[in-house]
């Protein structure tokens, strides 16, 4: 099947040893399907180098042989970004064995972690050193540092700490020709030529392999308050965000919108799924406040703002977590949204963003447009209202054939995206392009922007061997 010259495979085997190369079809399977089951690819082998130097040798050998490579971290891409195509020629390169935290410095507030370090592990190492690595999202127990940087992951805390990009000070990269660029600088200021590190972040492995990164750490919160609020409508949700932000610009660590429909799915399908509100209503918000000050007074701030918003008729009901367990239980409502949606049947996911001020209009207009498109469809918008990123998901009408619904995926995405475009938004907020959205690049980023991207790709990876078929059309 694979059109690979034996000499290359032989040389890779000799270089990597039995631990470093998988060829048995049973071993390959987990590397060939994305977790959303959108794609299943084929590959002659999975390469698992044990160090940056070993990866550099792999890339040199493959470059000489014209061998295309697909970098893979935790394989949690939502857009098929880490899966080889069906041709059977692309080799998967797993970064899983590059999993050391090379150093951590609580004075500089930095950590140097290799690409294969799992995000949760990075969080834990930071916590042990008395610091916070704030990147946080559903896949954090599986996703890796290399993956979150290659895709510029966002998640729940972007409103306070920024995207993965903003948590990165320096990179180590294996370039498409096998050269190693050591840019692991631990500097807050360094204006010495083009910002290459920002080019590799978000490039989804199409320009080279991120093998390690210097990450920024923050102070561990000493106060934390989490509330779940039933709000009047989408505008009231946004108004509540403003009320908190106006009181304390830095206190809001997360501000998550959920639909009553989604919260209902949670209560129905998730074991032990309790919602601490008598009447969640149609619109629910999760507010998470945190501060490094032990005397920040966040409980008083939370109560004062909710009181104000209750009086204004914007908040209808609210529950504040009284313990770590209660706070975690509130967060679980948000985190189990994807699982609850899956149990209810088929859904179409849209990871979109608009200016924060436009989020109410996005939710309202996209929901209405989809209801016109498919009567009975159930909008389940949820996500990061505080940074303008709404997962504008649509659940099939009750009783409809899931396959028939999914056959309308393209129409649904187009319907949502028409609203997004009208509001000055983006068709991919935090999940990236991968393979799923390459077809949309021409329409959304065509002209000068796409032309410059293609020139950069040709300049850095002239033979197109790095993650072919991803990002660029």
């Amino acid at each position: 099947m694979p059109d690979i010259q034996p000499p290359l495979l032989d040389r890779l085997s000799a270089l990597l040893g039995p631990r470093g190369i998988l060829t048995d079809p049973a071993d390959l399977a987990p590397y060939l399907s994305d977790w959303r089951m959108l794609y299943t690819g084929r590959t002659p082998c999975v390469l698992r180098p044990g160090s940056t130097a070993e990866l550099a040798e792999v890339v040199k050998l493959c470059a000489a042989a014209g061998q295309p490579l697909v970098p893979q971290g935790g394989n949690t891409s939502m857009v098929g970004g880490a899966i080889p195509d069906e041709g059977g020629r692309q080799m998967v390169v797993s970064l899983a064995r590059l999993n050391r935290v090379r150093d951590i410095d609580p004075l500089d507030m930095t950590m140097t972690a290799e690409a294969g370090v799992v995000v949760k592990a990075a969080q834990d190492v930071a916590m042990e050193a008395g610091c916070l690595f704030p990147l946080s999202f559903g896949g954090e127990g599986t996703a890796t540092i290399g993956g979150v940087l290659s895709t510029n992951a966002g998640g729940n805390t972007t409103v306070r700490y920024g995207n993965a990009r903003e948590l990165m000070l320096g990179l180590e990269v294996v370039l498409p020709d096998g050269q190693v660029w050591n840019g692991l600088r631990r500097l807050r200021k360094d204006n010495t030529g083009y910002a290459l590190r920002h080019l590799f972040v978000g490039a989804e492995g199409t320009l080279g392999f991120i093998t390690a990164a210097v990450l920024r750490l923050f102070a561990r919160p000493r106060e934390n308050e989490v509330a779940l609020c039933a709000v009047r409508d989408e505008e009231a949700a946004l108004s509540l965000f403003r009320r908190f932000r106006d009181r304390d610009e830095t206190a809001v660590r997360a501000f998550e919108y959920m639909s009553g429909t989604g919260v209902g799915f949670y209560a129905r399908f998730i074991e032990g799924g309790q919602v601490p509100l008598a009447e969640p209503g149609d619109h629910v918000v999760l507010v998470d406040l945190a501060s490094s000050r032990p005397d920040a007074g966040l409980r008083a701030l939370m109560e004062a703002v909710l009181e104000e918003a209750l009086e204004a008729g914007e908040v209808l009901d609210a529950a504040i977590g009284e313990s770590e367990a209660q706070r975690a239980a509130i967060w679980r409502i948000r985190e189990e949204h994807p699982e609850a949606q899956k149990r209810e049947g088929a859904s179409v996911k849209n990871d979109v963003s608009v200016p924060v001020s436009k989020t109410p209009e996005l939710i309202r207009r996209a929901s209405e447009a989809c209801r016109r498109l498919i009567p009975g469809i159930r909008p389940v918008p949820f996500g990061h209202m505080g940074d303008g990123n709404i997962h504008m998901n649509l659940q099939q009408p009750p009783g409809m054939d899931p396959a028939a619904f999914l056959a309308r995926s393209h129409d649904i995405m187009e319907t949502v995206n028409a609203v997004v475009r009208d509001l000055g938004g983006s068709f991919s907020a935090e999940h990236g392009i991968g393979r799923l959205k390459t077809d949309m690049m021409e329409d959304w980023r065509g002209g000068a922007e796409l032309e410059v991207m293609q020139r950069i790709k040709a300049a850095i990876d002239p033979r197109g061997l790095m993650n072919p078929g991803k990002v660029l059309p």
Copy 2:
């Protein structure tokens, strides 16, 4: 003198009109010297387009004629970044007439400003809308938005708000072939291909013209406390920073180190230059705390931390500003350092950075090394200890001939940079490369990194017409 074909000048004149093109030598002079007087260039004309569309036409005409262009904003570069060379062929393009704030949105906390808007004007517009544009540095009354983005300016508040790069959400750029890229997106999350905006920021005009930008705004501080502290030594200064940061991660808006020597120059040379400390000693620190909360309790925090540090023997004396006027007077000591140094005679400037934890070692070792190099030399280190960026400046020995001292500039820079390199630092923290430091790029960024930069330059500006001779060697 100029080797310019008449047809191009004629066409540019016809396009731009008399307001848009200067050719009288008297009019050209202000555009041809940098304010440090390091370089004086020559040019056939200064082009002053009045809009992005007009600039795009200029660039198209010049590209067709192979005409090199030098973008210029407020001409406050510290490294000769906006000055044409001596050849007389490069045309200066001033962005000064692109000076509109196109929109401001206090809900989204964004402002869209054109390249020629002066930084101070952007601050003022934000303030009128009830917001803060936090970028702040000595040249803010002259420097422009296009300039600070093209050079990724830093300044005093990086420790809290980040560099210019981190204050930017979107860009509009005229590319070297005259195409306009409209990337003025107001989104906190947008993962749709390569991060071009980060490539143009810090490229110093060598990849195209930044013509407008979406800037991030922040909440106006409702509390502000500023203190001037005499500290025991460099390590005590850093320890004081940690004490503040550990109490409240977000309160420190600026943390500036100054030498007793520099503070002495201020007292001696600056009119009305008062220092509110009985004995400033050899090491002085300025702390600026700010919060958007009206009840942040920053005065109590300031007093508590200074008390602790006094007891620990790290702080020897401290004065807290009791009014806006007193706070401004303390800041003036820091801001007038360059002027005070100029009055005292010749000095050599080094804009370097190291990991924050290494700043005491940098100051100590670089000072000692320079004293060994030139007996009697007076180190005047000052700057942004909170982000690791020290202006490691050296003042001539008293009575030495300034010219003889400046003849040693290269040796002094090399001496400082040897220490910087040993500490994992950068030879250009916030001023950039310009023309002054291109010779150092090979040594510091050579190999894979410089090769990738050169490939990008060739891909985007294949004929090398954009700000030739800057950034890349």
